[in-house]
């Protein structure tokens, strides 16, 4: 029996989660002519730029230093000349500071200082190395990894789970990474385990990627404390709390963090980046991103951080029809982009182009109380009741009914036959409750 959690959905089951188009495509590198690197890719204070227009930078050179305790530095993802340091309106609410670099195509690395091999690198220096490499959660949340690895006083962790579930529709970037470079992933896991002094590590993969499971099992053979577990194909299997429930049977308490269940979860891409940072001394300058949907040649591209999304789409052969929406991320949790000239960031695991027909959203109709959302909710909330409260702006009551535990996975909206905008309403409620301290 495959490991799983209660609730959840199986989106696009008849289309193999939309993954067939790109899952057979090997990772290939794409080198952009220029990059635009935002300073606020991670959660926490934006980094402070230390380069100016006209400066020459090498690949991997620090272009912005970390600000605050959980901040991380940002590195040049290409070698070349800085052409601008300016404010740009990206996907966020407010404009972001961006450093634009014109690529000289030399790919000249700055001086790198490796720490050592996976089993021999000094454990106490790993966390600092991860911070210096500017690594943040590459599954989409972009929480700085070093901050996740350093536990506050009084908390303990006995298990590390690498998240290779990739339950999000369309995306295959983690799949290809596990298939092609399982060694790096396992090295990264061992480094994280050693730095956090944890003896048990799991690599969790959904059963629709059995080839990746085999590759990971092969690579994990003989490594201390590492085992591969197979999960049921279900959304949101890769949600942190769902994954912990599926793998360890423990539940993260309401309002708590994974460490309250004595578990820490990292994305497989993050683990690979940790391995690069420690073993090769390389900072995070590129990542695997799936470009799929209505593109001529769906692909898994190794993209430099700051590559314009339009260039990535062109690298995948361009759009095969007039695009209706372009998602940064998969179709469940991705953000529809207003403008494809924006750059991709450390968290962008996919670019999904949707045709105009597919992108049409049906207008919402009244709730018929079918309770499908209740069955789908992985947190076991009551979405239809919460939606009522949100419509009445009764956020105090919504908080009592645990709207703050909603992970905004969109499962309820997906199954709703009335096409109600359930999860966006909960996101709004969460934002407002936090902002107004209700």
């Amino acid at each position: 029996m495959r490991l799983s959690f209660k609730g959840g959905i199986h989106p696009l089951r008849e289309r193999h989660e939309g993954k067939n188009a790109s899952k057979g495509q090997p990772i290939r590198a794409y080198i952009p002519q220029s990059v635009c690197i935002p300073m606020d890719m991670h959660i926490g204070a934006p980094s402070a730029p230390v380069v100016a227009k006209g400066d020459r930078v090498k690949m991997g050179q620090v272009i912005a230093t970390a600000v605050g305790g959980i901040g991380i530095p940002v590195h040049a993802s290409v070698s070349g000349e800085v052409v601008a340091v300016s404010q740009k309106q990206l996907l966020g609410k407010n404009p972001s500071t961006c450093v634009e670099i014109r690529n000289d195509l030399q790919d000249e690395w700055t001086e790198l200082t490796p720490l050592g091999e996976a089993e021999t690198a000094p454990a106490e220096r790993i966390i600092q190395a991860v911070r210096d490499a500017g690594i943040c959660g590459m599954g989409g949340a972009c929480f700085p990894t070093h901050a996740k690895m350093s536990l506050p006083e009084g908390k303990s962790v006995d298990t590390v789970i690498l998240n290779g579930a990739e339950c999000e529709t369309f995306l295959t970037s983690d799949h290809r990474l596990m298939l092609e470079e399982p060694g790096r992933v396992v090295d990264g896991l061992r480094l994280i385990m050693r730095a956090m002094k944890v003896s048990r590590g799991f690599i969790a993969v959904e059963e629709n990627k059995m080839d990746a499971v085999k590759a990971m099992q092969e690579a994990a053979r003989g490594r201390e404390g590492v085992s591969v577990v197979v999960l049921k194909t279900k959304y949101p299997q890769g949600g942190e709390k769902q994954l912990i429930e599926a793998v360890t049977g423990r539940q993260v308490p309401s309002g708590g963090l994974p460490m309250d269940a004595h578990v820490n979860v990292f994305n497989v891409g993050t683990a690979a980046a940790v391995a690069d940072a420690v073993i090769l001394g390389r900072p995070l300058v590129s990542r695997v991103t799936t470009v799929t949907g209505c593109v001529k040649e769906p692909a898994n591209l190794l993209l430099r951080i700051g590559t314009p999304v339009q260039e990535a789409i062109d690298a995948a052969g361009g759009c095969s029809e007039e695009p209706g929406k372009v998602f940064l991320g998969g179709s469940m949790t991705g953000i529809a982009m207003p403008d494809t000239s924006m750059p991709m960031t450390k968290a962008n695991n996919g670019i999904v182009v949707m045709g105009q027909k597919e992108a049409v959203v049906a207008p919402p109709t009244p709730c018929i109380r079918c309770a499908r959302c209740l069955a789908a909710c992985p947190i076991r909330l009551n979405p239809q009741r919460l939606k009522e409260l949100c419509d009445q702006q009764d956020y105090a009551k919504a908080k009592k009914e645990h709207v703050m535990d909603c992970i905004v996975c969109g499962a309820c909206s997906y199954v709703c036959p009335a096409k109600l905008e359930l999860s966006p309403a909960f996101k709004e409620a969460k934002d407002k409750i936090t902002a107004r301290r209700i």
Partner: protein, 265 residues
Amino acid sequence: MDYAAILKAVAALGGLGILFGLVLSFADKKFAVPVDERFTLVREAVAGANCGACGYAGCDAYAQAVVKGEADISLCTPGGQATLDALAAIMQKESAVAEVQVARVLCQGETGVVKPRYDYKGPKTCHMAVSLSGGPNLCNWSCVGLGDCVRVCRFDAMRIENGIVVIDENKCTACGMCVLECPRSVLRLLPKAARVTVRCRNEARPKEAREACSKACIACKLCEKACAYDAIHVNNNVARIDPAKCTLCGECVKVCPMKCIEQLP
């Protein structure tokens, strides 16, 4: 016919009724909660809209706070001068002249005036719209026109017209709920007597402001020069009027090249 059974039943039920009546009347005296008689009066004097303008959970909570002396008597804005006078009389405090305020829209970004950034198709709330890439309008300070404020207004004083919110001054009670709700802070509570307002908050550089909107303040300072009373000043690329100094002469309105200063009748 056996009347005894009927009599027994009547006597039993009647007896129980009398007994309960006695117990209740005893309890009413014995466990009576003393209510400040002023509470009833205060509760009747306040507006009774449960709008939350005073910051309390509702009119009952506010009335209680007033009676206990915890709350100021001037907080019920929907009640206006009448409530203030009544509360002052009940609480034996001095009444002041309430400054009549209204909510004003500091934006003229109607459809066609402010340029669109993208075609927004998401959930129809201002909050969600502004959180995607700075909002559907090119101006990051503009009214999005999806009506978050209209939904919280309890006095039917707001409506959306031409992609922007319009306030009915006669219905607005200055409860301030819309001001709290607006994700862009486009709405402000201003004195009703301040008839001249700069209807723009765009703090971007003049060039960018002009590109984004045809009625944006471009910080040209012509209004500052035209004002003989030192009432209007440009700070952070946007003009602001000090209502205390403004004499409503209207000189600034005449010189503004962008027509972003408005004089209400």
